[in-house]
């Protein structure tokens, strides 16, 4: 038990299991196939959003533009399909590439100007949201290819087709940060940038790479959000900021940089999804959902910090 408690994500797993059992007992609808499908589908976008921020925390920076960037990619992809009649796959590829390019802009500005990434992305967030509104005039793109929308809603049993993407991304990211040299370089820069530099690691390259990766992940999240909603809403991404920080940090990432946990982030997203699902099932007044979510996330982070102090991590 001690060894289990030592794991960064042990508390989250206990929370998920306990919460799941409590929900199953108090709301029978919880275990219905359709509800579980809805729950799983709701975490697809969140997971990618959380990863987009986790990557930045890994390199010791923050990206406040994940939501605006994802939203921009969503309307670009939707617009290509609807207004320009571009086929599904090329449209997605262009959209995701645009996300990577936006991430590169974030990274390049940060490195080139020497301005803190927090400020750079605060500004670009506004710029990306502005482009979004300029393109759409706040009107969504509805006319999307049927196969694309079908993918967003399809399922095999309780398993949403959409979930394939974040699961694949999880595996790739886990490998990237555990074994790939660029991934290790990002964590080295996040952990101690001067040391990494003196060892011959290129700090600017690591920071730009992290921003590009973050942009790509937010872009994929944007595309999935469009598939899931069946339309490219200009408002996509506007509510991503909280979860983008909450999940990696509940999962054990350090705001100081250099320490992230992919399993922890995954479980934290599941936990947050479960909380949101629970609030629907037990019919919490929708106007209070936001408050409860904030309070519960704070409690979860607090607990994890308490655990970290107890096992002598901090």
């Amino acid at each position: 038990m001690g060894a289990f408690f030592r794991l960064q994500w042990s508390g989250i797993l206990v929370g998920i299991i306990a919460g799941g059992i409590a929900l199953a007992l108090s709301a029978p609808a919880f275990l219905s196939e359709f509800n579980l499908f809805v729950l799983l589908r709701s975490i697809c976008v969140s997971l990618l959003v959380a990863y987009a921020q986790m990557v930045m925390l890994g390199v010791g920076q923050m990206n406040l533009s994940v939501g605006a960037l994802g939203g921009l990619v969503a309307v670009v992809t939707g617009g290509l399909m609807d207004a320009l009649g571009v086929p599904t796959l090329p449209a997605i590829m262009i959209g995701v590439a645009a996300g990577g390019a936006a991430g590169f802009v974030n990274g390049w500005l940060t490195v080139r100007t020497g301005i803190n990434g927090f400020i750079v992305t605060l500004a670009t967030a506004s710029a990306f949201a502005g482009i979004n509104l300029g393109i759409t005039k706040a009107v969504p793109f509805y006319n999307l290819p049927a196969d694309f929308v079908a993918f967003g809603n399809g399922r095999v049993g309780l398993f949403p087709l959409l979930l394939i993407v974040p699961l694949l991304v999880t595996v790739v990211l886990a490998l990237f940060f555990a074994r790939a040299v660029p991934g290790r370089h990002m964590l080295a820069v996040g952990g101690n940038a001067p040391a990494a530099q003196l060892s011959g690691v290129s700090v600017p390259r690591a920071i730009i790479s992290a921003h590009v990766l973050s942009g790509l992940l937010a872009a994929v999240a944007g595309v999935l959000a469009v598939a899931q909603l069946g339309s490219a809403q200009p408002t996509i991404g506007s509510d991503w900021l909280l979860i983008s920080f909450a999940a990696p940090i509940i999962g054990g990432a350090s705001l100081a940089g250099g320490a992230i946990s992919i399993v922890g982030t995954l479980l934290a997203v599941v936990l947050i999804g479960l909380i949101q699902n629970a609030m629907v099932l037990v019919k919490v007044d929708p106007y209070w959902v936001q408050f409860l979510l904030g309070a519960l996330i704070l409690a979860a982070v607090w607990f994890n910090r308490y655990r970290a102090i107890k096992v002598g991590e901090i």
Partner: protein, 491 residues
Amino acid sequence: MALTVDKASKSFPGVRALKDASLELRSGEVHALMGENGAGKSTLIKIITGVHRPDGGRLLLDGQDVLFASPRDAIRLGISAVHQERNLIPRFSVAENILLENLPRRTGLVDYARANAEAKKYLEMIGLVVDTRTEVRHLSVAQMQMVEIAKALSHEAKVLLLDEPTASLTGEEADALFALVQRLKAQGAAILFVSHKLEEVLAIGEPMANMTRGRLIEAMIGRAERIAVVRPPKAATGAVKLEASGVATAAGHRDISFTVRRGEILGLYGLVGAGRTELARALVGKDKLSGGTLSIDGKPAVIRSVEEALKRHRIGYLSEDRKYEGVVLLHPIRFNVAMTIWDRLARFLGFQTAAGERRATEPFARQLEIRTPSLEQSVGNLSGGNQQKVSLAKWLAAKVDLLIIDEPTVGIDIKTKAYIHELIGKLADDGLAILLISSELPEMVALADRILVMHEFRIVDGFDNDRSYEAMSRKVMGAIHRHSDEAVAVE
């Protein structure tokens, strides 16, 4: 291989860090480099390793001009440095830290099995026994230092620069390091050894002879004079400022009892890790006491916070960690010194003026001879010795009665060190109670009136200091060894 620095210069905002520095390092030689703090030793190293670009002068490798855009370029040409700052990634393993910029790969992925095997080779080379998979943050300071050297070796360094490599090592560890340096020299490396400690410099390099013999002898004589500045023995007659009885802490202290009087320097000696700093932190309210009682000025007292320690009980703590706990590097001198007395400087509605701060701090800056063009200078631009003076001035300004001084002269040049010793003595003569923490026995013997010996979070013995280094070191080391032997016997 020969590396030549020819008249290199470098300036930072407000500070001329290096002027016309010339140096030649040759294969199979160890050069020692000495100099006061702020003399530009670290800057010189950073120029050689491509961290800074010189404003003027040339860098030649085997007679060829070279210009490094980044440390990567220098490493590629076989120039590696062990810098003064800790330069490891805390959450990475020993192996990964050592091989960071050339991790072995297989099909594009890091091959950890091979990395561990390779790192082990370098650890064996320097005689460090740790598991290569351990995260660096779990190592001791000395072990980290060794890992840094292993890392430099992994670069196949032909030119190796060691910047104050022994600053955080015990005598035995330092000896092992010297042996290593000699071995590397025999293998044909060109080595530059930067140190404050004259014994080391004399022990390490015969090329000293053709380098700066004249200046070296001068430094030696100067030091002999200064060592003679020993605080004369004095009976402690002042009132008791602080009395601790049976103090225990969560950090592991048990049954800590002592008194310190005004006008007295009480030394707290112990090896690194004995629990001295942790005790100081508990005494100033940074950590909680878990048992025992304190009495201050003869009255029972509870210290709940650092603020309370300073404002109610007039106790200050001069941290050993200058950069993180001593000074705010980005702020000017006046800001740093006035930090403890802002309440007093506050005028109408709590406002204060820069001029007020300057007026209040100026006397202390002058008293301590902080070398600076102006009080507006950022503390980050000062040398280590001057930073320490700023740190000290802060507590003088606060007019504390008891000052806990933790390792006051680590990484500080000989001249400033002597000055700080003299100052500590003067402060005690003026009626301040001083608790002096130091791992440097000569410093202890020169300054303290009584010496308490701490070992494994307990005070194991105490002696009146008779100012004889040989006698005191025998007593103190005897006490430590006795108790380590006991610990071994119990196990």
